[in-house]
């Protein structure tokens, strides 16, 4: 659309599965009559002959010849709507019209404002009580969120975060953690076709102060704080970013159960290694929450037993090369690795990086590596450029050591570990203390 603004007539081509999304984005950009044309989904894995048939076929949305749509989009005269665009403001009221509890519960579901489970209705009294969990003013702007990079940002204040925290069933003492998650700017409801979720990890004294679980069942529904903080991150992401509605603001093809709630605490007192937030530059006495973008694949195992290296090489190779794992270890496993000489998390991450290997042809034969990393490799950006130089059967490393996050948690009823898709970028660990 910036090319149109610069005076270059433009036609955008999309696959038909994204028609509603493309039209919605054009509307929110004030250019609803942007010329959009469509070919069938998918493009990926189609041969040149298949794609030629798309070009010579019909636009599946307009049912007119595709190339005719393209040519007319560049050369047909404009009308008044094209020349004026569309200017408008959307107001969000502070309070809703009075109604019965049953009707309001139904209205929230109908409006896609929930996770389709019952919510705690955010009455003025409940929201006021939640706001007592922070010293910050209700009208202070916390941040902005959007469902994906090409969509508009919505803004929100402390009170709007409190409303969603009430809906999730959270207690006021959890509110600083929820505010920190909102301030991270990382949505827990990405609209990516990959069905991503955002997993959050709490470190520091706040874990014990609010009674979070880092023991038995830590990653399951067995603790009020873990469950409701994770749910609050999802609900606030839905409502403060402008929605998470299938076929509009949500396009994940399979969906993701981590999108209900996925927040946990590190077992710092039982871990032989540095807490995760300390690795990110915080003091042990600081409280912080870290977010991991992923939640897509999960590998699992036990040990470390005699053949741990073989097992872990297989698990690492089965992870997706586009998103490195969070390596979550029960304290029994962590202590086992210490006995093997891994006396820091960094040493274990180095081993994982050195042993997360794929033949180059497999590494590059991935649609997201092709889309996101291949252009960087061609531009000479490392480590992708070196991976591109490898022979097809040559082994390339999937991840750099700093891509791999290591967290110790669990109830020590078994020496179990998991590798879960979870990208932790710079700035993804946020102070909770700043929101007390």
């Amino acid at each position: 659309m910036s090319l149109e603004e610069s005076g270059v007539p433009t036609v955008a081509v999309h696959t038909d599965a994204f028609a509603r999304l493309a039209q919605s984005v054009a509307y929110a950009n004030g250019m609803p009559t942007t010329r959009q044309t469509y070919v069938p989904q998918p493009i990926v894995d189609k041969s040149p002959a298949d794609l030629r048939a798309y070009v010579e076929g019909e636009d599946p949305i307009s049912n007119r010849p595709f190339m005719q749509e393209v040519i007319e989009g560049l050369s047909h005269p404009l009308n008044d709507n094209d020349l004026n665009g569309m200017t408008f403001e959307r107001m969000t009221p502070r309070l809703m019209d009075p109604n019965t509890e049953d009707n309001l519960q139904a209205l929230f579901v109908e409006n896609h404002w929930t996770d389709n489970l019952p919510i705690i209705l955010p009455t003025e009294e409940r929201v006021a009580a939640m706001l007592k969990g922070t010293s910050h003013s209700p009208d202070e702007i916390v941040g902005r969120l959007n469902p994906t990079a090409f969509r508009e940002f919505w803004e929100f204040d402390v009170e709007k975060v409190a409303v969603n925290a009430v809906m999730a069933g959270a207690k006021p003492e959890y509110f600083p953690v929820i505010l920190a998650l909102a301030a991270s700017g990382v949505s827990a409801r990405s609209s990516s076709t990959n069905s991503f979720a955002t997993i959050s990890l709490v470190n520091g004294p706040i874990r014990n102060e609010i009674g979070m679980n880092d023991g038995i069942g830590v990653m399951g529904p067995y603790n009020h704080a873990n469950s409701t903080i994770g749910r609050a991150h999802n609900l606030l992401s839905i409502n403060l970013q402008g929605g998470s509605v299938p076929d509009d603001t949500y396009m994940g093809t399979l969906g993701n159960w981590y999108n209900y709630s996925s927040c946990f605490a590190e077992a710092e007192e039982r871990s032989p290694w540095q807490p995760f937030h300390v690795q990110q530059g915080f003091k042990p006495t600081d409280s912080a929450v870290s977010v991991f973008f992923g939640g897509w694949y999960t590998q699992a195992g036990y040990g470390p037993r005699e053949t741990w290296q073989e097992k872990m090489r297989r698990a690492l190779a089965a992870c997706e090369q586009n998103i490195a794992p969070i390596f979550v270890l029960d304290p029994i496993v962590a202590r086992g690795f210490v006995e093997l000489g891994f006396d820091t998390k960094e040493k274990l991450a180095n081993w994982c990086s050195e042993n997360a290997l794929l033949p180059a042809r497999e590494y590059w034969d991935d649609q997201w590596i092709q889309t996101l990393k291949y252009p960087l490799a061609v531009a000479g950006v490392e480590p992708f450029a070196s991976r591109l130089k490898a022979k097809p059967d040559g082994l390339v490393s999937m991840y750099e050591p700093e891509d791999i996050s290591i967290v110790v948690t669990g109830g020590e009823t078994q020496g179990a570990w998991k590798m879960i898709a979870g990208e932790h970028r710079h700035g993804f660990t946020v102070s909770v203390d700043n929101w007390l």
Binding site: N84, R90, K160
Partner: protein, 96 residues
């Protein structure tokens, strides 16, 4: 009759939308430079090659030029400047 209660609206604040006009259209594509902008999605390059072949066979007077941004999903001002300076029109694809 059930009691009515007042509750908060949970939604954030959307930005104001300012209308933008489309660029003037061309009277004809004859002799014009049309950029095919490959958005770098997997296999979009192959799709754009087929669009280029279609023009060569059906509208050979159109001057087709292929161009790509440096990186996926990141604005490339240099590429945009090239299209604005040297192009008469652009076809972008394939977006999802």
């Amino acid at each position: 009759m059930a009691e009515k209660i007042t509750i908060h609206d949970p939604r954030g604040y959307p930005p104001k939308v300012t209308g933008k006009r489309l660029a003037p259209r061309l009277e004809s594509l004859d002799g014009k430079v049309v950029f095919l902008v490959d958005c770098l999605f997997d296999n979009s390059e192959v799709f754009m090659e087929q669009v280029q072949l279609w023009f060569a066979e059906n509208l050979p007077t159109v001057k087709i030029r292929n161009i790509k941004p440096r990186e996926s999903w990141v604005d490339d001002p240099k590429m945009r400047a090239t299209v604005e300076a040297e192009g008469d029109a652009a076809i972008l694809g394939v977006g999802l």
